[in-house]
């Protein structure tokens, strides 16, 4: 890692002095807009998340939570389940598959649905070695879950972080009984259908929150633990092109030092959209080095005093290299398609929100960063292709 890189990283957390935003040209409504101070202590929690999975291994209550399937599979594998369960969708061949990132970091392909679709398929249960499997009934559930990762901060010992990741909420739960109690001797196929399922929320895999849809097949048994199989699928909902889509235009600056005016052509973008814009330099009296546009995702979880906000910078897109002169205008053209974006989620089930911001950052020669953050709304446009 070169010095320069290090500087950039550290620079991101430097304190930044205040900057005056001017709204409109009347000058009356000038207000100070605060520059956010990044406390370096916040760097540490970030690191913890990255090794989150290893923590989970030592957490006993996570076993049947269903949230950490991989761990469960691992534990179950020791006992070799007496039968194999396969869940397949009726239109599995033709249905679109999208990549889905699992907790273990692996990406698998998962079927894609949207709200109001009927989920039709079949469950195949195949006893291993033709062993007889006794059960108290077989059922399939369609669950919509939100998993939140909470932590309480101790202001004395940072290491004593407490993760409450067992908080799961099923916001949707549909059940179909597939079989009455009995015995299974051989491979058996159960068709199932959930028609016109209301799935208002999209699947989401964030830093502190996860929203997923699963099909859970349970073979209930006496005395021994149930045999459970999960099949996750992805839900995406499409919104039409918004009728009102104003541009974002604003003049910001530091008095007598820097006045810029920036303009983004729209305030609402679809996921494959292009951000087009321009930055006009009205007054430049500081030696700028470069300028970049950051796309930031702000994920806020919980509510009330337990709200935790996590912001991640998805990309830094360099817009300008060198020092501009007064009167210069710098074009912006940023294709959004390479980034893994989601639509903006507003207060999903009172549990979390995901918002997107464009952060325009100007860096001067002393590596001071001046920035202005603007929220943009993301939406998913039905892909015609």
């Amino acid at each position: 890692m070169s010095d320069e890189d290090l500087k950039n990283i550290l620079g991101g957390f430097y304190m930044i002095t205040s900057i005056v935003v001017m709204r409109g040209s009347d000058g009356k409504s000038k207000s100070k807009f605060q520059f956010h101070q990044y406390n370096r202590r916040f760097v540490s929690p970030l690191r913890f998340y990255n090794i989150f999975d290893t923590h989970v291994l030592h957490a006993p209550q996570s076993l049947d939570s269903g949230f950490h399937q991989s761990i469960m599979n691992y534990l179950v594998g020791a006992f070799k389940p007496p039968c194999n369960i396969f869940v397949s969708f009726a239109d599995g061949r033709s249905r679109k598959q999208v990549p889905l990132k699992k907790e273990n970091g692996k990406t698998v392909m998962a079927a894609l649905f949207q709200s109001q679709e009927s989920i039709v398929g079949e469950v195949v249960i195949e006893p291993v070695h033709r062993k007889k499997v006794e059960h108290n009934g077989v059922k399939i559930e369609l669950l919509g879950q939100i998993g939140l990762l909470y932590f309480l901060m101790s202001f004395i010992f940072i290491s004593e972080l407490y993760f409450d990741r067992g908080n799961f909420y099923d916001f949707t739960s549909l059940v179909r009984e597939l079989d009455i109690p009995g015995e299974l001797y051989e491979r058996k196929t159960y068709p199932f259908e959930f028609s016109t399922v209301e799935m208002p929320y999209e699947s989401y895999n964030g830093v502190n929150v996860r929203l997923r849809y699963i099909l859970k097949v349970t073979i209930s048994r006496n005395y021994v633990s149930n045999i459970v199989e999960y099949q996750e699928f992805v839900v995406r909902n499409y919104t039409p092109t918004p009728s009102i889509n104003n541009s974002i235009k604003m003049e910001v600056g530091i008095e007598d030092c820097l006045h810029i005016e920036f303009e983004y052509s729209k305030s609402k973008y679809h996921l494959k959209d292009v951000i087009i814009g321009k930055i006009y330099f009205l007054l430049v009296r500081i030696k700028l080095k470069n300028m970049e546009l950051e796309i930031r995702r702000r994920e806020s979880t919980g509510s009330g005093p337990n709200t935790y906000v996590e912001t991640e910078t998805l990309t830094k897109f360099e817009l300008m290299d060198g020092a501009p002169v007064r009167g210069e205008s710098i074009p912006i053209r940023l294709f959004l398609s390479p980034y893994e974006l989601t639509p903006t989620y507003q207060n999903i089930n009172n549990k979390f929100s995901v918002k997107y911001y464009l952060n325009l950052v100007l860096v001067d020669e002393e590596d001071r960063r001046y920035f202005k953050q603007q929220e943009i709304t993301m939406y998913r446009l039905l892909e015609t292709s």
Partner: protein
């Protein structure tokens, strides 16, 4: 950011090249395996090496060239890729995903060139987009190179008219071109990144200037300008309507003095003269809008220089100049610029006017009023200011004033410019002199004849720095040689003034006289003689003509001239330069003699005598003076041709006046006697023996004038010579007594020569025997023990003997005469 040391820079360059090559290697591998994603990834990484700020443009260029080569391969790959069915539009989008702007734009330009060739989109749109996106690079060096790259790759694709990409309107070409060009130039502006003006920080300014210079990597800028000039699509209309206004707008907006200067200069240098001429309005209109500190004068001067050269190139284009009223436009523009920049140093102002003048002279050689107008404007601007202290400014004025001289090769024309002397007034005396010298030299070079008194008057008004001490006479620390040089040139000038009309010539002389008389003691010795001689020339001219060809009332008579001369020379004797005055009086006397103006000659002689008596005290000077007087007197035929008695009487009067001793009638012989007395009187005290001796034998000529039979008194001649011999002898003895050795025999040899002269002339008193004995005397003297060997005298004697031998051998009447002499 420029490297601290060359070594470090080398190191960084090496590191940059290494990184570049490594990524280029991976890129090649990706290209070979048709892996587009990897190819883009590694090419972007490769291009990231160009993001360095540590290299100077020169080193950066090395790095850039390597990247350039690699990008060619990438371009080939993109071409193949599109052939394989990859959409060029997708490719165009794909390369824009790169996060760093510099690699992104390099890739974009590379794809863009393929895009244009594919003709899937109008070339102008693609180009416009590329140019627009390139604005993201505001760093001067990197920006310059990037734009250069863009220019390179799109050079053959710019939508020229008539090219295969035709079909776009001509205006578009203009837009593209001007954008490209403008952006290119804006880079120059960025050369000075500190946009905050800081007063007093001179160092920073210098640094900026230096950096700006660095930016002006001639290779690159040259390349880009070349590209622009290759765009055939730009014709005059488009240039006028699109290109120039846009470029100027860019220039005005960039607000940086160094850049603006550079840009304006570029514009002027890059486009053809004809275009400039036709768009003079627009171009000039931009000047007052530039920053007040921009070095406009140089730019404008260059423009005018170009236009002048254009005008000079062919006479056909001159009507165009008239048509667009180039002069008045330029004149107005200069006025505006000077108004807009109140801080402009005088130097700048003068430079502007100087160039304008040059322009005017080239374009409107016939319009003298224009030139005068320029000078007038210059005077107006200069007025209210003290005399110029600034050396450079004065230098400029000199060149300003020299311009008309050079052009017209004729001071007469310059003399017609009424404002000319007024401009000169603003020079300090030093420069004034220089200017005057320039003027004189011009006259000399061109042998200009200034033949009217009015012009002479004007001319002397111009060069008065040379002929008078201007106001500040006290700090006259001029180098003696320089002063002489100057005055000599004035003297030459005076010689050049000539008119065939005696009347006018006389006027000229009077004018000159009027001017030079104020010159003071130091100048008069230089200036009076030429005036005297040119007057004498006039006298002789008049003399050559028929008796009084003019009417009775004719004012110019030799007499009158002599009067003037008398007064003139008299001033010399006052200053004091008696020797010179004496010589001049004698010259005048001789001329008067030739004119048969006896009283005048007499008067001049009187003056000469008075001078000799009263002023000349140095013995050597006296000797010279005596020789001169004797020489002149000898030629004076007026004395004694007609009325010898009267003449002698008058001559006596002269002598009387001189010595206050004799008041009796003297013949020429008596005159000589008087002279002898004079010598005896004065020489005893003043003259050294040899001088005395020489004076005496010189006097002998007074008694023997070849062409006047009545002045051939052989006896007196012999007397003179004998006397001379005596003196020589005495000198010899004195020297013997004083130093113990005999002096040189030179005097004897000289006297021998006189003997021979008169012998040949047939003076009966000079006998063979006398000569013979003299020769013997000399020989004895030479061989005596006490004599000091004197090679010069020996040689002189030997050659005298040889001469005699020669005459003998030649035979004839003279030879026969020599025959009896034994050597």
């Amino acid at each position: 950011m420029i490297a601290d040391g060359v070594e470090d820079e080398e190191k960084w360059l090496a590191a940059g090249i290494a990184g570049l090559q490594q990524n280029a290697f991976y890129m090649h591998r990706a290209l070979d395996s048709n892996n587009l994603r990897d190819a883009l990834k590694y090419s972007a990484q490769m291009l990231s090496e160009l993001r360095t700020s540590r290299l100077s443009p020169h080193k950066y260029y090395e790095l850039y060239m390597r990247a350039f080569d690699e990008l060619r391969k990438l371009e080939m790959f993109f071409k193949e890729e599109t052939r394989r069915g990859c959409s060029i539009v997708d490719l165009y989008e794909l390369v824009q995903h790169a996060g760093n702007i510099l690699p992104r734009l390099y890739l974009l330009c590379t794809v863009g060139s393929v895009y244009i060739k594919s003709k899937e989109a109008p070339a102008k749109d693609v180009l416009k987009d590329l140019v627009e996106m390139c604005r993201g690079i505001q760093h001067p060096v990197r920006g310059l190179f990037l734009r250069s790259y863009l220019a390179q790759v799109s050079r053959d694709k710019l939508p020229d008219i008539g090219s295969e990409y035709e079909g776009h309107c001509r205006g578009c070409c203009g837009i593209c071109a001007s954008k490209l060009y403008g952006d290119e130039q804006i880079v120059g502006a960025d050369a000075a990144p500190g946009t905050r003006p800081r007063k007093g920080e001179k160092r920073e300014r210098e640094e900026r200037a230096k950096r700006s210079c660095n930016i002006c990597d001639p290779q690159l800028v040259g390349k880009n300008l070349h590209v622009l000039s290759q765009i055939e699509g730009i014709d005059l209309d488009m240039y006028k309507e699109t290109v120039l206004p846009r470029v100027l707008e860019q220039v005005v907006n960039c607000k940086d003095e160094i850049a603006q200067y550079y840009l304006m200069d570029c514009i002027i240098q890059v486009f053809p003269d004809e275009y400039h001429l036709q768009t003079l309005d627009v171009l000039l209109g931009a000047f007052p809008q530039l920053q007040p500190t921009v070095d406009i004068k140089t730019v404008l001067s260059r423009l005018m220089e170009r236009l002048s050269n254009y005008a000079a190139s062919s006479a056909d284009v001159l009507p165009e100049f008239l048509q667009v009223e180039a002069f008045s436009k330029l004149n107005n523009a200069i006025g505006k610029v000077i108004e807009a920049q109140p801080d402009m140093p005088i130097l700048g102002m003068i430079t502007l006017y100087s160039s304008l003048l040059t322009f005017t002279l080239h374009v409107h050689p016939d319009r003298l009023d224009y030139a005068d107008q320029v000078l007038g404007a210059c005077v107006k601007k200069l007025s209210g200011k003290e005399k110029l202290e600034d050396k450079k400014a004065t230098k400029q004025i000199v060149s300003l004033l020299s311009a008309p001289l050079d052009k017209y090769n004729d001071i007469v024309t310059a003399l017609k410019l009424s404002n000319y002397p007024r401009v000169m007034e603003y020079l300090d005396s030093e420069t004034n002199k220089v200017m005057a010298t320039v003027i004189i030299q011009s006259i000399m070079k061109n042998k200009t004849r200034i033949s009217t008194a009015d012009r002479v008057e004007a001319l002397f008004e111009l060069i008065k720095g040379l002929i008078k001490d201007l106001d500040d006479a006290f700090h006259d620390e001029v180098d003696e040689d320089d002063f002489k040089e100057e005055q000599n040139s004035v003297a030459r000038l005076i010689q050049l003034l000539h008119s065939d009309d005696p009347e006018e010539m006389f006027k000229i002389i009077c004018t000159v006289r009027k001017h030079i008389l104020g010159g003071g003691p130091k100048r008069l010795p230089f200036t009076v003689p030429p005036l005297v001689f040119s007057s004498l020339k006039l006298v002789r001219q008049l003399q050559g003509q028929e008796e009084n060809p003019f009417g009775e009332e004719e004012s110019t008579t030799p007499k009158k001239i002599f009067q003037v001369l008398n007064q003139t020379v008299e001033t010399l004797s006052n200053i004091p330069a008696p020797e010179l005055a004496l010589q001049l009086f004698l010259q005048c006397a001789e001329a008067a003699n030739d004119c048969d103006l006896e009283p005048v000659a007499y008067e001049f002689f009187t003056q000469a005598y008075i001078l000799y008596e009263e002023e000349i005290s140095d013995s050597r000077a006296q000797v010279t003076a005596i020789h001169l007087i004797i020489g002149t007197l000898q030629r004076m035929h007026v004395f004694g041709v007609e009325n010898r008695d009267t003449l002698t009487h008058k001559a006596t009067g002269v002598i009387f006046l001189l010595f206050h001793m004799f008041r009796k009638q003297l013949s020429i012989f008596q005159l000589y006697l008087t002279w002898a007395l004079v010598f005896e009187q004065y020489s005893a005290k003043l003259l050294k023996k040899p001088d005395q001796c020489r004076a005496v034998y010189a006097c002998s000529h007074l008694f023997w004038v070849d062409d006047q039979d009545n002045v051939k008194d052989g006896e007196r001649v012999l007397l003179c010579l004998k006397r001379a011999l005596r003196i020589a002898n005495a000198a010899q003895q004195m020297s013997n007594a004083a130093r113990g050795s005999a002096g040189s025999v030179t005097l004897f040899v000289e006297i021998l020569n006189k003997y021979l002269y008169f012998f040949e002339k047939g003076n009966p008193q000079i006998t063979v025997a006398a000569i013979q004995s003299l020769i013997e005397l000399i020989t004895t003297e030479m061989h005596s023990d006490s004599s000091t060997p004197d090679p010069a005298a020996d040689a002189f004697f030997a050659s005298t003997l040889r001469y005699m031998e020669f005459q003998k051998q030649k035979g004839g009447a003279i030879g026969e005469k020599y025959e009896p002499i034994k050597v």
